[in-house]
Symmetry: C2
Subunit: 327 residues, 2 copies
DNA sequence: CTGAAAGCGCTTACAG
DNA sequence: CTGAAAGCGCTTACAG
């Protein structure tokens, strides 16, 4: 392995000069620069980043903490993070937290020791003590806001309003809202958004708590639909639960969208694979990941950071689980 | 930050002794051990892994290279890798290659410099020069085998035979086989498996090349079904293309499974969300990832490695896109 | 069983 | 503009 020392010798300068040249820090005369450049080329020298890290306490590695990469929302996010990170010369470590504070804490601790540069976190635990005064740049994604942590999220409340209105405009008279877990901020915001619109609509509505989980949602919706046969609209606060609802309807022989219209929330790719395709309030998941990564890297590199909260717009995607708007 | 030096001083021994104690390498007297242990506890000392890495050239980090984490096959794999890695005290860097040899090569190069300990790779590029004599432990997943690289894969050929037979047993008279890309080893093996069974069955069959991509598959199948209305069975060599086929059938008003039966391949979670649920030849994706990770870590830790090729069994999952077996 | 010392390969004040 | 030297925090022969 060729080291900075070899380069210095070959170029006839000191290692300090080589280091300055390599890092473009401090002064290096044109002459010295040329000699070093030549030596680097000839020796095919490549800087050892581990040795550098020991000094700088930086690694160009960031951590991405998600509850479970297997949940179809997160791969799209992870892809965006990875893409943008690569652009800036960073590499990303994937951590599945299972929403378990202990696991999260362990990851953060062990990676901090490895001089990881920062974290992008999707978690409800952002107020947990281990986030309180972490000596590392963090950006929160999708969920909870801690006063000190920049956050990027969709406008969940407005999005839910849009989704609700879509159902109303299409003539629904009795709407079932599939509310997500109460511990989840986005789920709560979506609930608020639903209520904002439904409250004054005079339309009958029911709210059921339903985890963002296919099979559970399928069961819950199946039993509700059996009892309340006049439900003609379902707004699910996640696409996965919407998929469960659709499946339940199919099983019961309820025709979608003729007898029952369904709107989901998230915009994951799976939505269009269903039959009929799922109408949904789509988040720009990729964009969320991309922004979060850029914000994090700016923080890491101490660039002045403008905002503290980034809201990504949401878009209604009309597919087959809703009818056309009534005139 | 407290260093090994502080511990040594406090314990009244040399740093060498502390290091030996910490690494459980070489002799340390009971007395010295106790003193060190106490000092470690009192000072809350934590070893600096970066400094260690500079010496050992190991980091307890592995790389996972997948074509695209957004493809629903890979999150399950990634989850398994991450879970098992964590168990052994390793952490994983996620790399999306887009099947691009240059990207792959870059990842390998930059991570090698960072003293990453090894790679798990899903790629068709395993015979590319940059894999030829990589000085790092590698395990190949799902795809191509290079003579020097241990591989874990499903029995694709047998699996395809099982899937084909499932269609035959259920009375299909004209079968469309959705063959994957010709550069993909697993796709080829599945094709062989299909042919093994269909060849001597006397059943009419067609083969269409079809990427593992939903929308493309949907289009391809839609146009084929319009022309050949007597096709009553489709075997897709991936679940995503099976989903496309199902959607096409739904669009055309062809009833599944009554007029057309469909079998997929992969066993990704999405299969059960479709209506009807997708019958598929399921790989044990999690197990594949888990085995690959264990094999890699054994290689990294120089433990003797028994096998060179690991085959994971495949299982037919009957769901709604097929009828019951004819008597 | 233990410690002094060299070494891993870089960065960074500091003096010139 | 440059170099000698200390330092980042560990590991590992080697001599005792």
């Amino acid at each position: 392995m060729t080291t900075i020392r070899d380069v210095a010798k070959k170029a006839g300068v000191s290692v300090a000069t080589v280091s300055r040249y390599l890092n473009d820090s401090g002064y290096v005369s044109g002459e010295a620069a040329r000699a070093v450049a030549d030596a680097v080329k000839e020796l095919k020298y490549e800087l050892n980043p581990v040795a550098r890290s020991l000094n700088t306490k930086k690694t160009n590695i960031i951590g991405l903490i998600v509850p479970d990469i297997t949940n179809p929302f997160f791969p799209e996010l992870a892809r965006a993070v990875e893409d943008v990170a690569l652009t800036y010369g960073y590499t990303v470590i994937l951590c599945n937290s299972d929403e378990n504070p202990e696991k999260e804490k362990n990851y953060i601790e062990t990676l901090r020791k490895k001089y990881i540069d920062g974290f992008i976190v999707t978690s409800n635990q952002l107020d947990a003590p281990h986030y309180a005064n972490i000596p590392l740049p963090i950006v929160a994604l999708d969920r909870a806001i801690n006063a000190n942590i920049p956050t990027v999220a969709s406008n969940n409340r407005e999005g839910a309003g849009i989704g609700t209105r879509a159902l109303l405009e299409r003539g629904c008279k009795k709407i079932l809202f599939l509310r997500g877990p109460e511990e989840l901020n986005p789920a709560n915001d979506r609930y608020e958004g639903f209520m904002d619109v439904i409250r004054h609509s005079g339309i009958e509505h029911h709210v059921a708590i339903c985890p963002f989980h296919f099979t559970e949602s399928e069961k819950i919706v199946e039993s509700i639909l059996q009892e309340q046969k006049d439900i003609d609209g379902i707004f699910a606060s996640s696409d996965v639960s919407a998929a469960g609802a659709l499946k339940a309807a199919n099983t019961l022989g309820i025709s979608v969208p003729d007898e029952l219209q369904i709107v989901g929330f998230d915009g994951i790719a799976m939505g269009e694979m269903l039959s009929p395709g799922l109408t949904t309030v789509a988040q720009d998941i990729y964009k969320m990941g991309a922004i979060a990564t850029r914000v994090l890297i700016k923080r890491i590199e101490n660039q002045t950071e403008e905002q503290h909260f980034y809201e990504v717009p949401v878009e209604l995607k009309i597919r087959g689980t809703t009818r056309s708007v009534e005139e």
